[in-house]
């Protein structure tokens, strides 16, 4: 599971009103390189919950990767920023698309229900009494 998906997922348990963001607990994760597409990031960024994304990177022990405050659009999409190592857009791209959580759990902030992640696949199945 990439952090992009984690950013979109919310808990679905009955009685939970928002269930977002799911707390990430990762015991094992890896990175896979993906080509950067600035247009995709541009379209995606307004939909990203920045605080949840930062919290997720912190949970993976990567406090340096993203700043607390979202960088301005001009800074992210500055001319040629995509080619500069360590630029804002590269970091965002890396955080969203290149980090794969392999093992761990997602925890619902309201009900405390834990959704296990195994082999990179979160198990979001609910029990009968949670539907």
């Amino acid at each position: 599971m990439r952090l992009l998906t984690h950013n979109m997922l919310a808990s679905n348990v009955r009685g939970v009103t928002s269930g977002y963001p799911l707390k990430l607990e990762a015991t094992n994760w890896c990175t896979k390189e993906v080509d950067l597409n600035a247009d995709f990031i541009r379209g995606l960024l307004p939909k990203i919950d920045w605080r949840a994304l930062v919290a997720a990177t912190r949970a993976l022990n990567l406090p340096e990767l993203l700043p607390e405050e979202q960088p301005s659009e001009e800074e992210i999409f500055a001319e040629g920023a995509a080619n500069v190592e360590g630029s804002a857009i590269r970091r965002i791209h890396h955080a969203l698309l290149e980090i794969h959580v392999q093992q761990g759990a997602l925890i619902c902030p309201e009900s405390g229900r834990s959704f296990p992640i195994e082999k990179g696949i979160p198990n979001m199945m609910l029990h009968e009494d949670e539907v």
């Binding site: 679905n12 269930g19 995709f40 379209g43 696949i121 199945m125």
Partner: protein
């Protein structure tokens, strides 16, 4: 073989042996690829080369997702079968996979997804595989959550095999109740094997862009051989694909008063010309007998 939906629940039916078919059978792979290609076409994403974030509901082994990846899109796949997802892992699909039951709702934040496709999955919702399952509630939960997570104006294309008209109506009704605009597009409606139904839904208020696209082969155009779902069988036994029970009844055209005096006289004349012994025409010819005879 009966349809998979009546054999077992999806998480049981798609076991390891069944999932294996989705990597080894070139026929299944080809059909899946063709359907997903068509679904993507019906999704009508803007042609600006910008990748989108899409959903693949019932992604299975990721065959349909592969088509999305080929077009450069990022996707999140949902499936209920662990075995199928294991195969997807083996194939190293590019999208993210989730083990989830779509009848429980998708569990996504509102308005974040640019489009959704689903290949041969929605009909599973019509089954009640557990005592706690109510198809109506599950359809409602699925379409409701799908509507919420899609961005305004986004589309969803769901290919499905309905068992009967009622089932198809039920699916469409619940989609409309969730707020979607759209309807069913049927490709190759005259063929029993190649016939495919796509539920094309648009999120948000209906506009010019929500008009339904036309299905393939609607105006009598026949599908070519390689569009047929089944590649087995010799050319000789290829028949026109109409289900026997769907074929319109051939009724004899008889009017209330029989075929009429004109017709009878014509026939008698014909028989005379052939040299048969035919009674002469009188005022009684072609008259109805009295009922008490």
């Amino acid at each position: 073989m009966p349809r998979p939906e009546i054999q077992a629940p999806p998480d049981v039916f798609y076991n390891e042996a069944e999932a294996r078919k989705y990597t080894t059978s070139s026929r299944i792979i080809e059909i899946q690829a063709r359907i997903s290609e068509r679904a993507l076409e019906l999704l009508a994403l803007p042609n600006d080369g910008v990748p989108k974030l899409l959903l693949d509901i019932g992604c299975g082994s990721g065959l349909s997702g592969e088509t999305l990846s080929e077009h450069g899109h990022q996707w999140i796949g949902y499936d209920i079968s662990q075995s199928m997802l294991d195969v997807a892992l083996e194939r190293e699909t590019e999208g993210d996979l989730l083990l989830a039951d779509m009848g429980q709702g998708l569990g996504l934040r509102p308005g974040v997804i640019d489009g959704a496709i689903s290949i041969s999955a929605v009909q599973w919702l019509c089954n009640a595989d557990k005592s706690s399952h109510d198809p109506r509630l599950r359809l409602k939960a699925f379409f409701g959550s799908l509507y919420r997570c899609l961005a305004r104006g986004a589309r969803a294309v769901l290919q499905f095999y309905a068992d009967n008209v009622k089932q198809s109506e039920m699916i469409v009704t619940y989609a409309m109740r969730a707020g979607f605009a759209g309807g069913v597009v049927i490709d190759w409606p005259h063929s029993s094997k190649a016939k495919k139904s796509y539920l094309v839904l648009t999120c948000g208020a209906p506009s010019v862009h929500t008009s339904l696209p036309k299905g393939k082969g609607e105006d009598g155009e026949m599908c070519s051989d390689d569009d047929d779902g089944d590649s087995s069988g010799e050319d000789g036994d290829r028949t026109v694909g109409i289900y026997e029970r769907n074929r319109p009844n051939k009724k004899q055209k008889t009017k209330k008063n029989g075929k009429g005096k004109q017709w009878l006289l014509k026939k008698k004349e014909q028989m005379r010309r052939k040299g048969h012994d035919v009674p002469t025409d009188t005022k009684y010819t072609g008259r109805k007998r009295k009922t008490y005879f």
